[in-house]
């Protein structure tokens, strides 16, 4: 069975500092991987995704993530955060196996708290 793990429930960081939000997945088959962001009282917005190809993917708002198959990780990074990046970040995955379920499995989320 697939699972997505976000070990950090909250990550406090100062403005303009770099940040990494960790995501590990567990699956017996290849997966597609996504990062979504949820701003307070809003819905889920896609930040970036890995489907195939280059393992380094760039998303909106200066975020990027690297797919590491050997470590089954898809960590999200930003070199310099802003106050406006304060939000909940969710890592999600679904199976890339043709014909398999396409339900997204979400991690528990990481609250990025950017302080001035």
């Amino acid at each position: 069975a697939q699972s997505v793990t976000q070990l950090d429930s909250q990550v406090p960081v100062f403005e303009e500092a770099p940040v990494e939000l960790r995501c590990n997945y567990s699956s017996s088959v290849s997966v597609y991987l996504f990062w979504y962001v949820q701003y307070p009282n809003q819905g889920l917005q896609l930040l970036l995704k890995y489907l195939s190809g280059s393992t380094l993917v760039k998303g909106i708002n200066g975020f990027e993530a690297e797919f590491n198959k050997s470590q089954t990780s898809f960590h999200l990074r930003k070199p310099s955060v802003h106050i406006s990046d304060t939000a909940e970040y969710f890592c999600a995955a679904y199976s890339a196996y043709g014909g398999a379920t396409n339900k997204l499995i979400f991690g528990t989320g990481t609250l990025l708290a950017v302080q001035p």
């Binding site: 889920l44 995704k49 339900k103 528990t108």
Partner: protein, 114 residues
């Protein structure tokens, strides 16, 4: 840019009442989903829908839940007899195809069952 819309944004209901949550997926998308997020918890899959039938459902999606695409644009989630534990944010999502595609989420409906 096309987006998924949901109505209402908030709904308060009494336990035992029926509620219908409405979604308008992106117009050329063929796959539709409902997810929910109980306050402080992670987003959970409820059901996926394709070609006018359920393609997959979770154990959460019991007989109290149903989905329907009543016309060419709307996609609804009905809870027949709400329970306190149904209080959550409900997200609708859609994608053009099943595999290898992003699921685009609506803004959610916050349901509070009293």
């Amino acid at each position: 840019e096309p987006e998924v819309t949901q109505t209402p944004s908030h709904q308060v209901t009494q336990m035992g009442q029926e509620v219908i949550l409405r979604c308008v997926p992106i117009s050329n998308h063929l796959y539709f989903y409902w997810y929910r997020q109980i306050l402080g918890q992670k987003v959970e899959f409820l059901v996926s829908f394709y070609n006018n039938e359920i393609s997959e459902k979770s154990e959460i999606f019991d007989d109290q839940f149903s989905v329907e695409r009543p016309d060419g644009s709307n996609f609804t989630l009905k809870i027949r007899s709400t329970k306190l534990e149904d209080s959550a944010m409900y997200f609708c999502a859609s994608s053009p195809t099943a595999q290898g595609e992003t699921q685009y989420f609506g803004p959610g409906t916050r349901l509070l069952v009293l």
